[in-house]
């Protein structure tokens, strides 16, 4: 029995131990077979045992149990010629299924060839089992650890009545053919049949075929299946690695490292000199070499390859990557299939990346939309915008501590956060921003003052540690398409929320009186005022609206990020970038900006997933350069309002 087949046997044994607890029905057919062939069971021969195994397997579950025990070396023969299945301390009679005690059987130890035959017979009987669950189990265990015997059994088994199981079996058979079929042509056919598949099992089946090792030789080895030749000093093989390869194949002496040289010199100091060179001068590498040469000449240290010898040895050899698989046609086909799989895999990764980027973009959009409104209408940068986001998140947290039901608390928290930050925005407008009209830089600084005050107040009230804002159960988990593509539900929810707000914003701007007045004030405040619109009230309303949306964004962000007093700060710079890149005063500009920044940061991140800091750095650099070409954003404001 191969080591890998053990789980299958153990599984079978467990099932059968359970069965044997029931009153055992005697199996006369099995008893007859055993009685006729006991000698061969005791000393089986690989060449002749086949028919016997088939006979036993044909007798039913008891026969299968016997085979399983036989293959697992847990079948024993007593002195009175009875076969016992031994499972730990429990012994049962193989023919009758009755428990036996007090016996001391000799364990049978069939050789590996016989056990291979038994196993494939077992699998064959199992995959033609009438119980579908049993067949599925058999396929599972073969998929975990398939062997050449399994392949044979699969090929000989009758077709499965269940089409789904049959499909699985076909796939398994193809995979096993790739790994274990002795005939290269059928292996290649199997590889090509699955070519382009991105399943993990197929990629796992290909990998062992493409395993390579490196060899160094003076000339090209004729018999080996060479993947490629390597040039020492190239990207794939550094000169040091090449030398290590030579050393490993005993083609070169160990090199003398500076540390080894220093140590052996230090070991041979005599009268303040080493090999005639004064110790004080040994700070010079040349002097060290002289001293070592002297020691070498005196025979006190072992000769070692000097740098030039090592380099010469490296250049005197050629280096090859050799496939472990000898047949080059198979490796070619495997490589083509792998390339194909990788191509489709990267396409799928691209889709996954796109989903990630989309969700990031919707977060940025939510965070920036309020900022864009206030900036577009009033030319005012609200540095406290991030703190409004933070306020929204804390509102969500407080609501959750008051209302235990997560879904209900979320439903309450969203409008509540809007109300709280709307009020805060209106207060900020009435008290500060109104008095700083037409002084954008002063507004920036004043709102910054508000921002530090709010942040510190949040710190004093809620403490510095992160507060949890737990999403309801239906928002947890992820939507998974396949091995590669998946997206967490919460991000989908945020995307939907962003879409909702886009719709709401468009509705307010294009279909309501308020929107009409806002657009009028944006385009020409003076003319709007003379038409009876109160620009001050409009500005206040817009500011409140923008802040309110920030609050809702805060709840959304709080659901997947930690709620701290610095929450807003983490998003404020990105929000600014979104507005600046998109262009002010235009919701589509904000959308485009958020999309660009979202996609860009994900794409840059995918080049080096471990280093998100570098990704952010490059993204900001990109934006700085982008501003060079479109100083007014992707969708610039036109007309009279642009010059204001």
């Amino acid at each position: 029995m191969t080591h890998a087949a053990r789980p299958l046997i153990v599984l079978l044994l467990t099932v059968l131990t359970l069965l044997s607890a029931l009153p055992a029905a005697a199996n006369p057919a099995l008893r007859a077979v055993i009685a006729d062939n006991l000698d061969q069971i005791e000393r089986p021969s690989r060449t002749t045992v086949g028919p016997l195994i088939d006979q036993i397997a044909a007798t039913g579950p008891e026969g299968t149990a016997l085979l399983a025990a036989w293959a697992d070396r847990s079948l024993g023969l007593t002195d009175d010629r009875r076969l016992l299945i031994v499972d730990g301390d429990v012994m049962t009679d193989a023919a009758t299924g009755a428990p036996v005690s007090g016996a001391d059987p000799d364990m049978l130890r069939p050789n590996s060839g016989v056990r291979g035959l038994i196993e494939s017979a077992l699998v064959a009987s199992q995959i033609s089992d009438p119980d579908a669950a049993m067949r599925a189990q058999a396929l599972d265990s073969i998929a975990r650890a398939g062997t050449a015997d399994h392949l044979k059994a699969l090929r000989n088994a009758p077709p499965d009545p269940d089409p789904a199981l049959q499909a699985r079996r076909d796939r398994l058979q193809t995979l096993l053919t790739i790994q274990h079929d002795p005939d290269p042509a059928s292996r290649i056919a199997a590889i090509q049949a699955l070519s382009g598949d991105v399943g993990l099992d197929f990629r796992a089946a290909l990998n062992p075929l493409l395993v390579t090792r490196r060899i160094a030789a003076t000339d090209q080895p004729g018999d080996a299946n060479i993947a490629r030749e390597l040039t020492p000093g190239g990207d794939l093989l550094s000169r040091d690695a090449a030398y290590d390869l030579l050393k490993a194949q005993d083609l070169a002496q160990p090199r003398l490292t500076p540390a080894a040289q220093r140590d052996s010199l230090a070991a041979h100091i005599a009268d303040g000199k080493v090999g005639g060179v004064p110790v004080a001068t040994l700070g010079d590498p040349a002097a060290r070499d002289r001293a070592y040469d002297a020691l070498e000449a005196a025979g006190t240290v072992t000769p070692a390859a000097t740098e030039s010898e090592a380099q010469a040895a490296i250049d005197a050899h050629r280096y090859f990557e050799v496939y472990a698989e000898p047949d080059s046609d198979v490796t070619d086909a495997a490589r083509a299939a792998q390339r194909n799989a990788q191509l489709r895999l990267s396409a799928m990764k691209g889709i996954d990346l796109g989903l990630d980027a989309l969700s990031l973009a919707s977060i940025y959009f939510l965070a920036a939309i309020g900022l864009a409104i206030t900036f577009g209408v009033m030319r005012v940068i609200n540095m406290a915008h991030g703190e409004f986001i933070m306020m929204g998140a804390y509102t969500g947290y407080v609501t959750q501590t008051l209302i235990a039901d997560r879904t209900l608390s979320l439903i309450v928290a969203l409008p509540l956060a809007f109300a709280v930050t709307f009020a805060a925005g209106v207060v900020l407008y009435r008290l500060v921003i109104r008095h700083l009209a037409h002084r954008p830089l002063e507004t920036l600084l004043a709102t910054f003052g508000v921002s530090i005050a709010l942040q510190q107040i949040a710190k004093n009230v809620f403490g510095t540690q992160a507060r949890p804002l737990t999403s309801p159960a239906w928002l947890e988990g992820a939507i998974t398409v396949n091995d590669v593509i998946s997206i967490s539900t919460i991000r989908v929810a945020i995307f939907v929320l962003a879409l909702l707000f886009l719709g709401l914003f468009l509705f307010i701007m294009k279909r309501t009186r308020l929107g009409l007045e806002v657009r009028a004030v944006t385009q020409n405040p003076g003319m709007a005022a003379s038409m009876g619109i109160n620009p001050d009230r409009i500005a206040m309303m817009t500011f409140g609206l923008g802040s309110g949306i920030a609050g809702i964004a805060g709840v959304a962000i709080g659901l997947f990020a930690k709620v701290t007093s610095e929450l807003g700060q983490d998003y404020i710079v990105q929000s600014f970038m979104t507005v600046v890149v998109g262009g002010v005063g235009n919701i589509w500009g904000t959308l485009a900006g958020a999309g660009l920044i979202g996609v860009l940061s994900k794409v840059i991140e995918s080049f080096n997933p471990s280093n998100t800091l570098a990704a952010q750095t490059f993204m900001i650099l990109f934006i700085v350069i982008f501003i060079q070409f479109r100083p007014r954003g992707i969708i610039p404001q036109r007309g009279r309002a642009a010059e204001a």
Partner: protein, 411 residues
């Protein structure tokens, strides 16, 4: 027409320099190393650092108060200056330590071994043992001092050229400078950027070669150096903003388009002032961080640059002495309040701990200053100046206060 000497044109410069000199002498006289010892060494360091911050504020005022660019990236230049000098401080000190420990070895070390030992010592903390390329000049004090000026200057030049060329203005420019600072901070935060990631450079208070000098003395020396730098920087800034050049940059602040139509190369003027301010800020940083002892990327947080703007705004924009006053007053107040030395304020219903509430007070006072006293503390001096009625001679020749029409009429 005879031009008045520079000092007479700017009497405030003389007052500031005199005040600075008096301050320096007084601190020296009260220090532990050279005087009565009334001021502890840590306090001398705080004062020395404050002078550096004041110098940075002067540069900020040059950019914001006179040129009209609210740069939120000044701390990037400040920290870069600190990093550049920190490289030498750290390298030279580590080299001395490594050389001392290697001297015990049986065989004297080769230069390569010495360098490897130093690199191991400095970069072991970020899991690297090679000296990054950016440390190529770290062994040499003069080269690093040159880099203190060159690196921030070059950054400001390139960034400014890109930004001014595409006519990025107002809040856009502010946000862009903030983004630049953030990008630099994020880059420095990486372990493989070569500046030890978020560990930053440390042990900078120990000056290589001056091991025998006590910190008490060193702190006074640095105070002197900071005072000299502030004095020279102030003079330079005052000289730049006086005369015709100063008039042009103020004109750019007030109406850039008009100045451009008058034929002035607006971008060139902006670039010169921006780069000069960056270099002054870098010198301030290079003097600040040896007194602070440690520098890490957190120093570049966008908020730090905004504090600088806060100081200048509270002190009074468009007046160099305002920047100095603002930086000194606010940063000293800050360290007093956040240091836990300020007494708690007991209200009937709540006790205000200043450690917690100082930032709130600062933020709100900042709003109040912006709303009600846009000229800051320096506005107070203006108000005092107006109390004495000006000696008017001749007629009012034109609508603009700054016009030289009267003198031109005489000539």
């Amino acid at each position: 027409m005879q031009r008045k000497p520079f000092i007479l044109q700017n009497p405030s410069t003389l007052i500031v320099l005199a005040g600075l000199a008096v301050f320096t002498v007084a601190v020296t006289a009260l220090s532990q190393a050279y005087g009565t010892g009334a001021l502890p060494t840590s306090m001398v360091k705080v004062l020395g650092k404050t002078l550096c911050l004041a110098l940075a504020a002067v540069a900020m005022d040059l950019v914001w108060g006179y040129l009209g660019i609210l740069s939120l990236g000044q701390m990037a230049f400040f920290a870069l200056g600190g990093y550049m000098i920190g490289q030498w401080l750290m390298y030279a000190r580590t080299e001395a330590i490594v050389a001392a420990s290697m001297a015990n070895n049986a065989i004297p070390p080769t230069p390569l071994e010495l360098q490897e030992g130093v690199a191991n010592q400095i970069f072991g903390v970020v899991g690297s043992a090679d000296l990054p390329l950016v440390w190529s000049f770290a062994h040499s004090l003069p080269l690093q001092m040159l880099l203190v000026l060159a690196v921030p200057g070059l950054l400001a030049l390139v960034f400014g050229w890109l930004a001014f060329r595409s006519r990025v203005n107002g809040v856009y420019l502010s946000i862009l400078t903030q983004a630049m600072t953030l990008a630099l901070a994020l880059w420095l935060f990486q372990n493989d950027s070569g500046f030890r990631g978020n560990n930053g450079l440390s042990g900078l208070q120990n000056i290589p070669g001056l091991d025998t000098v006590s910190q008490a003395r060193l702190s006074v020396w640095f105070l002197w150096a900071s005072a000299v730098a502030l004095g020279l920087g102030y003079l330079l800034a005052a000289w730049v903003v006086s005369g015709k050049f100063g008039s042009v940059i103020r004109a750019i602040r007030d109406d850039e388009t008009r100045v451009r139509f008058l034929g002035y190369p607006v971008e060139g003027f902006k670039l010169v002032v921006f780069t000069l301010a960056a270099m002054i800020t870098a010198i301030a940083g290079a003097l600040y961080y040896p007194q602070a002892g440690i520098i890490n990327p957190a120093e570049l947080a966008p908020i730090a640059s905004i504090y600088l703007a806060v100081w200048v705004a509270i002190g009074g924009r468009g007046r160099l002495y305002g920047a100095v006053i603002g930086a000194v007053v606010v940063s000293l107040l800050s360290s007093w309040f956040t240091g836990g030395r300020a007494p708690d304020l007991s209200l009937p219903f709540y006790t205000i701990k200043w450690v917690d509430w100082w930032l709130v007070a600062l933020g709100l006072s900042f709003v109040l200053v912006t709303l009600f006293a846009p000229r800051g503390i320096a506005g107070l001096f203006d108000w005092l100046g107006r109390a004495v009625s000006p000696r008017r001679q001749g007629r009012d020749l034109g609508p603009d206060h700054g016009a030289l029409q009267e003198q031109e009429a005489k000539a």
